[in-house]
Amino acid sequence: MSLAETPTPATAPAPVPSMAAAYWRLQRSELRLVLGRRRNLVLLLGLAAVPLLLGLVLFFTQDTALDGQGPAFLGRVTGNGLFLVVASVFLCLPFLLPLTIGIASGDAIAGEASAGTLRYLLTVPVGRTRLLLVKAVGALAFAAAAVSAIAVVGLVAGAALFGVHDVTLLSGDTVPLGAGALRVLAVVAYVGLSLTGLVAVGLFFSTLTEVPVGAMAATVVVAIVSGVLDTIPALSSIHPALLTHHWLDFAEFLRLEPDWAVIGGGLAVQAAWVAIFGALAWSRFTTADVTS
């Protein structure tokens, strides 16, 4: 450590950055941290591999390997590359996407706590509400990146392997390519928004512990348990409120006349989960002792 005086050039008192500028500076740093982290990049690559592998399998078997299984759009992939996007998203929804979301959101606060960086952020100081918001936006951005990775690779692989054509909807009607592509985009957007509730759940768990793996696992378990409960007929009265119940309603966009009530209902349930678990995360994080 040098004893030499570090000369500080005489500067005019630095202007204090505006609140918005200060917020976005931290938000950019957070996005770089989340999207630049090798583990997260590997996750994105893994998700991106799904449409590629699925496309290649279907291309080389050139048959209807998935015909008769699952929803009707699975069988249409070989006829229209656009459906590779939908089929890939469908395959990732039950487990791979919840896993990705669980890792990103469970790590948000708990990861900083376990690295010992949380106490240093808070003494910078960063307000706890601001930090939670920055972390939430970071986790949501990662969720968006995950869904986009599947969609973009699905689109490129689908177009390359099967070409893109006018879209034959589930009802058998055909819409022109442009309108069809828009519908596929809507499917992707709906799936992305369907994951926001899980992000909020993960964020809440993340405020409870200094062990990120615990928060990640708990978040994935919530998604899986929700899926299991959704299959038990005796619980049908609570099904509509379940986190995962409306996830497959993206299929509405593949009908001639999407039922906007169904779509709106699905998004409203997500909004409710976001509100409840966002509030829980906030009340916990703004009052908790930071002893990590």
Binding site: M1, S2, R119, T123
Partner: protein, 329 residues
């Protein structure tokens, strides 16, 4: 045993001051933390760190130093009591003027040292982004880490990690530095460098609150001391307080044959002497030490050695608690 709560600083002795003392960089009033486990980590302490002081916050492992610092910085909520940081009861409003190192460094392992500093700077809403790179370089230079700034943090040695923690505390000019065990993991050379750094910062006017569980390591640079044991502040005040607390002894070594004469001289000065070979040993009491050699020489005694032994911090601690300076719980 219950340790006696001895507070020497008159500013905090009254205990019923209405608010923060404007002269204090850190002030607490009956600050208490009981963890959910039931453990009372901090038990009603009245800390008072004057501005401009280098305050050595000493105590064995587990005595409550870190918990106190966490409460002062707003990381942990006190169970009861209050604290003021730079005169403010709301730490968040003044923390940008405070550099902190709490319970060891904490950084993202896969980011470089430099990237870690820039991350912290990005979090600082009052920092000027245009000067971030320069300030990071200056802080790294100051702790001797510039050469390793591009290495990922996980490849740092313990000492390098500690240095990066210090660099983070020095990212901006600070009025107060709170350094919790800054010498942990450092080799003797690193420890010396930290002491020099503290001295240098203090000379520039920064108040420093520095904790350690190793009594000797930072004692030398401190102008003030506070001694913790089992969650209580046993003693605090200017360093000279120590001399009043413990027993100062004098050791006189004389030429063979002069022992009896020397003992007589010391007794005349009012000292209770015990002799061993050529060495005489006595409690100094209120006597001015300079009078002893003068009186001996005057009586024709050949003085070979003369030494005043001030009480060591360790001795004071043992006197206060009746315990050794070990982990108390």
């Amino acid at each position: 045993m219950t340790a006696p709560a001895v507070t020497v600083d008159p500013a905090s002795a009254s205990g019923d001051l209405p608010g923060a003392d404007a002269g204090s960089a850190v002030q607490t009033r009956a600050l208490t933390k009981r963890f959910r486990s039931g453990q009372v980590a901090v038990d009603g302490i009245d800390l008072s760190v004057p501005r401009g002081a280098v305050y050595g916050f000493l105590g064995p492992n587990g005595s409550g130093k870190t918990t106190t610092i966490r409460m002062v910085l707003g990381l942990v909520r006190p169970t009861s009591g209050t604290s003021w940081l730079l005169g403010s009861p709301e730490p968040a409003t003044v923390l940008s003027r405070v550099g902190a190192l709490v319970e060891g460094p904490g950084f993202h392992p896969y980011l470089t040292g430099r990237a870690n500093l820039l991350r912290l700077d990005a979090a600082d809403a009052t920092a000027d982004p245009r000067t971030a790179a320069r300030r990071a370089s200056e802080a790294l230079e100051r702790v001797g880490l510039l050469a390793a700034e591009g290495k990922p943090y996980r490849q740092y040695s313990l000492g390098m990690k500690q240095r990066l923690g210090l660099a983070a505390a020095l990212l901006r000019p600070r009025e107060l530095l709170v350094l919790d065990e800054p010498t942990n993991g450092l080799d003797p050379q690193g420890t010396r460098e930290v002491r020099l750094l503290i001295r240098e910062l203090a000379q520039a006017g920064t108040t420093v609150l520095v904790s350690s569980h190793l009594l000797g390591e930072i004692e030398q640079v401190c102008t003030h001391l506070g001694i913790m044991s089992r969650g209580r502040l046993l003693l605090q005040g200017p360093r000279s307080v120590l001399d009043q607390r413990g027993v100062t002894r004098v050791m006189v070594t004389v030429a063979p044959g002069h022992v009896a004469t020397a003992a007589g001289v010391l007794r005349v000065l009012g000292l209770d002497v015990s002799a061993e070979d050529h060495a005489l040993n006595a409690e100094l009491g209120a006597l001015e030490p300079a009078r002893i050699p003068a009186a001996l020489v005057h009586a024709g005694v050949d003085v070979v050695g003369f030494e005043v032994r001030r009480p060591s911090l360790e001795q004071v601690f043992v006197d206060l608690t009746g315990e050794g300076f070990d982990v108390a719980r």
